[in-house]
Amino acid sequence: MTTVAATAHTAAAHHDDRSFVRKYIFSTDHKIIGIQFLFVSLFFLVVGGLLAMQMRWQLAFPGQPMPGGGILPETMAPGGVILPEYYIQLVTMHGTFMVFFAIMPLLVGVYANFLIPLKIGTHDMAFPRINMWSFWSFFAGGLVMLASLFVPDGAARAGWTMYAPLSARHDYSGASLGQELWSVSIIFVGLSSILGSLNYITTIINNRAPGMTWFRLPLSVWSLFVTAILGLLALPVLSGAAIMLLFDQILQTHFFDPPAGGQALLWQHLFWFFGHPEVYILILPAMGMVSDIIANGSRKPIFGYHSMVFAIVAIAFLGWIVWGHHMFVSGMNPTLGSSFMVSTLIIAVPSAVKTFNWMGTMWRGNLRFHVPMLHAIAFVAMFVIGGLSGIFMAATPVDMFIHDTYFIVAHLHYVLFGGSLFALFGAITYWYPKMFGRLMSEPWGKVHFWLTFIFYNCTFFPMHILGMAGEMRRIYDPSQYTFLQPYQPMRVFISISAFLLFASQLIFFVNFWWSLWKGKPAPQNPWDDNGLEWSLPSPAPHGNWDRVPSVYRGPYEFSSPQVAEDYLPQHKKLPTDREPAVTSAPSH
């Protein structure tokens, strides 16, 4: 521990003499690891998006050759016309890439790594080498998953939820190697998250700067801390389940195969026992970062900081006792349905508390609409829709009707795209200067925001209507059903909106790359923020601080009457402030 800190100190104080490989590839620097996660998971975000575009083509123009589809092999799309077996691979891999290789690593891999040491005031993670392994395990998992798209009988075909026995027996799914590679890849991802989580938890508990008490932590750090606890407890369950599934696939065990004495519902219980906490892993960090950005953009302290912390903890706790709401119609005992319904409905309470507190923060503020703030406000506006539509499905009788329809597709995209991804666009823009020393273009950021906001709603809102009509999800050709045929114009509208939504993301990517070299050089504190990371130069140097700063107050002291300017950094010592006692910080 002390050695690491001491090395970091020397490196930061003098010139950085690590080799290129140690510095940028097998790096143990939390900021470089965060940036590695950023590049790799943005790549997978594009992959997931491309898969979605192909699905939308098939749904809007079934049986017509897809532009550019000619490059796909005969087993996927002969002459560019998507086959049913390829369509369900698209469904499966879109969900898999987006959940495990895009949203989760973007939120946790990137921002837990990058932000935690900078925001709590320490030189690096508690276990830098474990941190490096966390990235490389994720990278290996990503390569395996990517490779599975190119094996002869194609990728996994049982949906991202991988329900057994369809996933467990190759004669049912029609894919063998692809299914096995899915399981292997998920085991790597599980390992990556477990290693990362224990690092984040240890670092936050032990390595906070002097004066950085628990209730002076930014909400982003609180949410990442609670997320890490969820990850540490949930991912082992998924890894265990994936190992059992792999055994069923290659060793002919029968954990999930009923004719041989296995249990089909066992997979669902294991998967969702992981899967529901996972849902909160995918939204809590977004909520935390949005809280930081909204306070900054409103120039006001967070309204009800303690309620916000308790709401994060309550959501995480309730997240453990609601997995059965994915299984109301699964054949599970209906009495369990009643209890899972109540626990699920109760989650609306902490979610409402968070929403009202964000609004309370904006109330009587002095709102600055920088690009991160636009995305943060959109997060609140869209998360509300996603949260409220969840209530329909929480009510068991209504769920019986809309379960597994486009209503749930709309709901989950309002939470994961409208929620998590808008928060991420905000977060990437907000912390970009601290990562790369340059600012992203503000006008292009606004163009990207508005196009995304409009086309996103045009894409996903009509899906509620399709769901109310009873359109099932994961259907290759809805026109098979007479009652779904009249909705074809709506599917075309959704697909065209989706294509435009995807095209709008080009603006973001060009802005991102262009700004790396040509962006406006960033000042130390471009957003006039209070967090410790803004006491460092942009980009933040290796090892962060020579001497970690002392902390005198909470992170949201905007417009404080104590100072003339409208922000008061956590590390700024006023004449009335007492020096904090050194307790938990590493000796330095």
């Binding site: 026995p165 369809l166 004719p259 006001k300 409905l345």
Partner: protein, 218 residues
């Protein structure tokens, strides 16, 4: 193109649609309040030269109010929903006089078994015939993977799990032709795993049953 829920084809449709509308009203109020509030704040509190934000850390009374109101609403909603849930899906919900039909799902077809008029049962592929105004209990079994029995007009859905015997019931109210779809991804032919649903008057049903049993025995 209907912008609303499908035709009410069973006795479940009334309460389920009622609950749907109740939730739509509750969430609609919350939605309008939040979104209008956000728009109002965006306009009213936008940054202008010389303005300074109001310095406050919160208000305990406000926190108590916006914690309590959602909590009470959600508990009430849970109680009402559970009432209907027990009626529709509860362990003892299937009426004693329900007419039994066997539904066996396999990749990618429905095999539907009826009790014949002579006491011998017979099986028809991809056609579900039911009498109107009478509770029907479908006994669901699967040959291979998980499927799901879904008739949108009846508002009925139940997963069919291999290795489990699951019952679901409904009472059709409007004679006509509908569709039964598989709503759980079950393989590459999932999208075409459908059956036609015919709701007959009791006399028409009896006539069909007699004729179909004859055809089956030939």
């Amino acid at each position: 193109m209907r912008w609303w829920l499908p035709l009410k084809g069973s006795t479940f449709a009334g309460p389920i649609d009622g609950l749907f509308i109740a939730i739509l009203i509750i969430t609609g109020i919350a939605f309008v309040l939040v979104e209008l509030g956000l728009i109002w704040f965006i306009i009213r509190y936008r940054a202008r030269p010389g303005r300074r934000a109001f310095y406050t850390h919160g208000n305990t009374r406000a926190e108590v109010i916006w914690t309590t109101i959602p909590a009470v609403t959600m508990v009430a909603l849970g109680l009402v929903s559970n009432h209907y849930w027990v009626e529709i899906k509860g362990r003892n919900s299937v009426p004693a006089n329900a007419y039994p039909i066997g539904v066996h799902a396999k990749q990618f077809e429905w095999q539907i078994t009826y009790p014949g008029p002579d006491g011998k049962s017979f099986t028809v592929r991809n056609q579900l015939h039911v009498p109107v105004g009478r509770p029907v209990v479908v006994q669901l079994s699967s040959e291979d993977v998980i499927h799901s029995f879904y008739v949108p007009q009846f508002r009925v859905r139940q997963d069919i799990v291999p290795g489990m015997d699951i019952k679901a019931w409904f009472q059709a109210t409007v004679p006509g032709t509908y569709e039964l779809g598989c709503s759980q991804l079950c393989g590459l032919g999932h999208y075409r795993m459908r059956a036609q649903v015919y709701v007959h008057t009791q006399e028409a049903y009896d006539a069909w049953l007699k004729q179909a049993a004859q055809e089956a025995s030939q």
